[in-house]
């Protein structure tokens, strides 16, 4: 056991936990005032739901002994054998690794919730998201990090571009299609009710993301330090590049654009951060800002209502990040070389990994949504939608100024 590494990973775990309330605040500010609490609840309640699933069998399915490359065995169910002793191959307690990974399992399903904001039944939400975590997140996590087939194939995903962002972004797309548009979409102004709150949420996410990305080194190492730096550079550059894209195409740079760009930059650097240096990270950030910005513009044209742009930011940003890892990765930083360093194969592997996650997530998400719809119904009724989900689902109001 190395006390520096333990110190680092304890704090990294706390930082990643903090991202979930941060996301709740980020998403909460983006919806209308009458939906702020229900939107917050979508993220917040997962701190409970997924924690319990994780202990019962989630950790085991994700990181238990590999079964056919697809899923982990139940050896760690109930966290049997997962204690304060050092985990094999690492310098930190097994329980700490498990806690760190738990925080990832919490925030991934939370990301999806932006797609169906302002219109889902809370009961349906709980059913769907529990199933999704079990049937989609745990397996894909196993594939990439738990010794599954993608890991064996050599796919690079330092902190979760494929596992987390592509996976949730794609699920968001399916959900947005299947639940349908919000009342008033295209006619009313379904605008953020509290942009300062959105920026605060983005700030918390950014802060926590240092734990997410650097912590994925699992040690207070040079690699962690580099991951931290490139995370900062990609996020900052993307904040700027999104705002500049707006400035050029719409005449004004917006604050929401800068905050959205920052998140897009964080998403894009996530898979790459242990494998690239400063200059590539700036390029990754510079590209992802306009890319996600145009993805949002496109959405408006395509007419599906991904309310908070989960597809445009996490799906598209995550995909770019996964591919960019295949382009820019350099052995010197800790992984293998990518295309630009003479190893085109890695780019292909990255594409395969992304594709696999997309196909799997699309199909399973669609099936789970259908099941949920048939059993309890996905969507609140029209009166409830006018009233807002805070009152209709939780008998509460957000503000009383």
């Amino acid at each position: 056991m190395n006390s520096g590494d333990v110190a680092f990973m304890c704090v990294a775990t706390a930082l990643v936990m903090f991202m979930t309330p941060g996301l709740a605040i980020f998403y909460g500010g983006l919806v209308r005032a009458k939906n702020v609490l229900g939107t917050i609840m979508h993220s917040f309640i997962l701190l409970g739901v997924v924690s319990i699933l994780w202990v019962l069998f989630g950790y085991s399915l994700s990181f238990g002994p590999d079964i056919g490359g697809f899923i982990g065995g139940l050896d760690y169910a109930g966290l049997a054998g997962v204690g304060a002793d050092v985990k094999e191959g690492l310098t930190i307690p097994h329980i700490l690794f498990c806690a760190f990974q738990l925080m990832f399992a919490i925030i991934t399903p939370a990301l999806i919730t932006g797609a169906f904001a302002e219109r889902m039944k809370f009961k349906a939400y709980l059913i769907f998201i529990t199933l999704w975590t079990i049937v989609v997140y745990f397996p894909v996590c196993h594939w990439v990090w738990g010794g599954g087939w993608l890991q064996k194939l050599g796919a690079l995903d330092f902190a979760g571009g494929t596992v987390i962002h592509i996976n949730s972004g794609v699920a968001a797309l399916v959900t947005a299609f299947m639940i349908g548009r919000r009342k008033g979409y295209g006619t009313d102004q379904l605008h953020p009710h509290n942009v300062p709150m959105v920026v605060l949420g983005a700030g918390i996410l950014w802060f926590g993301w240092f734990g997410f990305n650097a912590g994925s080194a699992c040690a207070a190492s040079g690699q962690a330090a580099m991951a931290l730096m490139v995370t900062q550079l990609a996020a900052g550059t993307a904040a700027l590049s999104w705002a500049l894209a707006e400035w050029i195409y719409q005449g004004k740079p917006t604050v929401l654009g800068a905050a959205s760009g920052a998140v897009a930059g964080l998403v894009a650097i996530t898979p790459a951060c242990g494998f690239v240096g400063p200059i590539p990270s700036i390029i990754i950030g510079a590209v992802v800002g306009p890319l996600c910005y145009f993805a949002c513009v496109l959405k408006t044209r395509m007419g599906y209502d991904d309310a908070l742009d989960v597809v445009g930011i996490h799906g598209v940003g995550g995909l770019w990040g996964a591919l960019a890892t295949g382009l820019f990765a350099a052995k010197a930083y800790g992984g293998v070389d990518g295309l630009f360093n003479g190893n085109p194969k890695q780019f292909l592997i990255q594409a395969v990994g992304a594709l696999a996650a997309i196909v799997y997530s699309v199909i399973l998400t669609a099936i789970l949504l259908k099941i949920t719809d048939k059993t309890v119904g996905l969507r609140i009724d029209q009166e409830e939608e006018h009233q807002g989900i805070d009152l209709s689902q939780h008998s509460e109001v957000g503000y009383r100024f």
């Binding site: 008033g184 006619t187 009313d188 006018h386 009233q387 009152l391 939780h394 008998s395 509460e396 109001v397």
Partner: protein, 112 residues
């Protein structure tokens, strides 16, 4: 000249605006208000306690209009704001003695 005041459900505001535009009405003033009436308030839960909140969010619009169009305006608002559910609100008409446009100082019907 008349002052037409309508209290209605907030999500109907855009429809009403369109309807008035259709009549060539070029202005109105909108206030967020809370209404109390036959419509049942909603329940709120707060740490084990339960309350009924009687005051329901509504919007109030005020339109000054010349006498000849006032009737049409009332009808137009009614049609646009009507959901046939309780709580749709009220329209009432008052007589206005004088109107002035601040910018120009015009008075009376010209100022509307």
């Amino acid at each position: 000249m008349k002052l037409i005041v309508a209290v209605m459900k907030p999500f109907k505001l855009d429809d009403v605006k369109e309807a008035l535009n259709g009549l060539g009405v070029k202005g109105m003033t909108v206030t967020e208000v809370k209404g109390y009436g036959r419509q049942k308030g909603h329940k709120e839960i707060y740490r084990g306690a339960e309350y009924v909140v009687d005051f329901i969010p509504k919007v109030k619009i005020e339109v000054i209009a010349n006498d000849d169009v006032a009737g049409q305006i009332v009808t137009a608002i009614r049609n646009a704001a009507n959901t046939e559910k309780i709580g749709d609100g009220k329209i009432f008409v008052l007589s206005v003695e004088d109107v002035m446009r601040v910018r120009t100082g015009e008075r009376g019907p010209d100022a509307v």
